[in-house]
């Protein structure tokens, strides 16, 4: 209970700071919009092609824009040695990681909402037909990216080349999650009925989230203190 309460405090603080500075949201939002616009004008895909590439395009945008959010997540704690203050406080490392992941999650979802609207307009796709299922896929995929981003954001925060190192480390690890999210999103955008084999992708998303969240909780002390 205390872990959840403290995690919510961290997330609320991070979101308050972000709403004031808009450091991550502006960068991630601008990046997403530019990539979607450029793709739309460069390839001018027909409706059938959009159904094929839509899921992949969206999740690549989310993953790359996510790196811009994660880089700021722990870097925000460096001025004035705030990270030391937090770690010396009654806050547990697990709460800190969860709080950071929650803030990342909310920021990424906001960016995804903007991106999907832009995607719908410029690629002429009605993405609202399966809005419930699509939201679930986005939530599951985004939580996995956010948690991994928080963990590796913490590990790379003191590195001189953290902006470079973070994407290099997290993208290979995100491959299973991204493939599953891309397949499910493609299916939902194409308005196809899911076959039993498609549920495998949903299971991969859930297992990825559970495994990485559990690992992060177990290793939080090692990640943040040692």
């Amino acid at each position: 209970m205390k872990t959840v309460k403290h995690a919510l405090l961290i997330a609320r603080k991070d979101l308050a700071v972000e709403l004031r500075t808009k450091e991550s949201l502006n960068a991630a939002g601008a990046f997403s919009i530019v990539i979607l616009l450029l793709f739309s004008f460069a390839f001018d895909p027909d409706p059938e092609q959009v159904k094929e590439i839509g899921g992949g395009l969206l999740w690549l945008v989310f993953a790359f824009a996510g790196a811009l959010v994660f880089n700021r997540s722990f870097a925000r704690e460096l001025p004035n040695d705030c990270l030391d203050t937090l770690l010396a406080s009654p806050l547990s490392p697990a709460s800190l990681l969860t709080g950071k992941a929650l803030a990342n999650f909310v920021m990424l979802l906001a960016m995804e909402l903007v991106s999907i609207v832009i995607f719908g307009i410029f690629f002429n796709v009605n993405w609202t037909r399966h809005i419930g299922e699509l939201s679930l896929v986005f939530a599951l995929g985004t939580w996995g990216i956010s948690m991994l981003g928080a963990v590796f954001g913490a590990l790379t925060v003191n590195l001189r080349l953290r902006e470079l190192m973070l994407p290099i480390i997290i993208y290979p690890l995100l491959i299973p999650l991204l493939i599953a999210a891309i397949e499910l999103t493609k299916l939902l955008l194409a308005n196809q009925p899911p076959s039993p084999s498609d549920f495998l992708w949903a299971k991969i998303l859930i297992v990825f989230d559970v495994v990485f969240t559990a690992l992060a909780m177990m290793l939080a002390d090692t990640i943040l203190v040692n």
Binding site: K13, N80, D81, C82, L87
Partner: protein, 227 residues
Amino acid sequence: MTRAIDLAGVWKFYGDYAALRDVTLTVEQGDCCALLGRNGAGKTTLLRILAGLSSFERGRTHLFGSSPRQAHAAFLGHGIGVYEDLSARENLLFFGRLAEVPDPDRTAAEWLERVGLANASDMLVRQFSRGMRQRLALARTFLHLPKILLLDEPFTSLDDRAITMLSELIVESRRRGATIVLSTHQLREAMVIASHVALIENGRLRHAGERTETMLDDPGLLYRLHS
């Protein structure tokens, strides 16, 4: 007397370099121990270990019988530990809620008043002068009435007002039974408020004991005796 801080045979290495060498130190509850030593002697490393911010290779460290990570000592390091993009009130509310103080709003307001920042409570910290930041950092450190305070060179670059404020807060904290370890180069200020003195040199503890009247009259005595 209850043993508040108990270090026994602590070694800390940075690569091959031993930053702390077999340090054994005890501090009783309610004592204020001034940790003296030249730059690079190992004072900050020792304080970071006590705060649970740094691991160590050998020995044991207990704060009231718990590990440093479980003891949650209040730590004031070289940074002021407050957020530039939050207001003074938001900072104190955040840290107050983390420390689970009973009424965070009232506590934050009282501390803002006490450190003379009530009129600037809704200003962002990035708009503060250096003196205002330091006073906010003091409020942040003391607001939850911690049982153990670890202060790393707290007098450095403080103005007169903040030095007086910090000295008063330390005396007040001791009166309610808090244990304090502070590292400092300001010998005169330290000798006045410390009950005990420890001298560390090249990672080794050279002296640990009560602060005597002689030290009060001649703050540099310890350095001369052990150099």
